[in-house]
């Protein structure tokens, strides 16, 4: 299953890929578009990706997680235009034991943020736009074209 989705994320479908009757613990993380960032009012945003590499790294992260813990993991990341409140990323981890489910879920979302080539362009209430840059002091870099 591909990890990048141009349409709204289907959490039920994600759950269905990992649920099994011997896995009683399901930990989920969903990241949603917030209405503010770096002190500015966000009205919408768009995600872009280096598609083939992003898919490959997502699969790599899932394989690593399923090797480190006794878990089944599903991962989906939205690309394209999103509104405030939309689900941007979802990680679902099913395991026999809840500690493994929690640890793997936390690990996967951190790895996604560190490794998957995806970029976020925010639009603000004042009409300006920026590229989100977690490494910049302000957390953003102005976009060239408004």
């Amino acid at each position: 299953m591909s990890c990048l989705h141009g349409a709204p994320l289907d959490l039920e479908a994600l759950h269905a890929t990992v649920r099994r009757s011997d896995r009683g613990a399901v930990a989920t993380f969903v990241g949603q578009v917030r209405d503010h960032h770096a002190g500015r009012v966000v009205t919408s945003l768009s995600y872009s990706a280096y598609g083939p590499m992003a898919e490959r790294i997502c699969q790599e992260i899932l394989t690593e997680a399923e090797g480190r813990w006794s878990v089944a993991v599903a991962l989906a990341h939205r690309i394209g235009s999103l509104d405030v409140g939309d689900d941007a990323v979802a990680v679902v981890v099913a395991a026999a034991h809840r500690s493994e489910a929690f640890e793997a879920c936390r690990w996967v979302i951190e790895e996604v943020k560190q490794r998957v080539p995806i970029w976020k362009r925010e639009r603000y209430a004042d009409g300006t736009e920026s590229w989100v840059d977690p490494t910049a002091p302000e957390g953003v870099q102005p976009a060239a074209s408004q």
């Binding site: 990241g31 995600y47 872009s48 990706a49 280096y50 083939p52 590499m53 992003a54 490959r56 990341h77 941007a88 990323v89 979302i109 996604v112 943020k113 560190q114 490794r115 998957v116 080539p117 995806i118 970029w119 976020k120 362009r121 590229w131 989100v132 840059d133 977690p134 490494t135 910049a136 870099q141 976009a143 060239a144 074209s145």
Partner: protein, 81 residues
């Protein structure tokens, strides 16, 4: 010399006004050599000296030597999740 294609994304694509650019580098060029060639192109001045890069869709470092068939991509700071 070889003509080398570089994939650009997000803010870097904006700097150059295109999702990919061609640069001329020696047959034994490293990633750093390609980046140096990009930085003197129009729009290239804002590019960091050591941007994150991927070679053949794997995170790589700037000392890596390139083959003509390699797929090189310059990656702005990641912001997924």
């Amino acid at each position: 010399m070889m003509q080398f294609r570089v994939l650009l994304f997000a803010r870097y694509a904006e700097l150059f006004g295109a999702p990919e650019v061609m640069v001329s580098v020696s047959d034994h060029a490293s990633v750093a050599d390609v980046v140096a060639a990009l930085r003197i192109l129009p729009g290239g001045a804002s590019l960091p000296a050591l941007p994150f890069v991927a070679v053949n869709q794997m995170h790589s470092d700037s000392s890596r030597m390139l083959l003509a068939a390699d797929e090189l991509a310059l990656l702005p700071p990641l912001a997924g999740g």
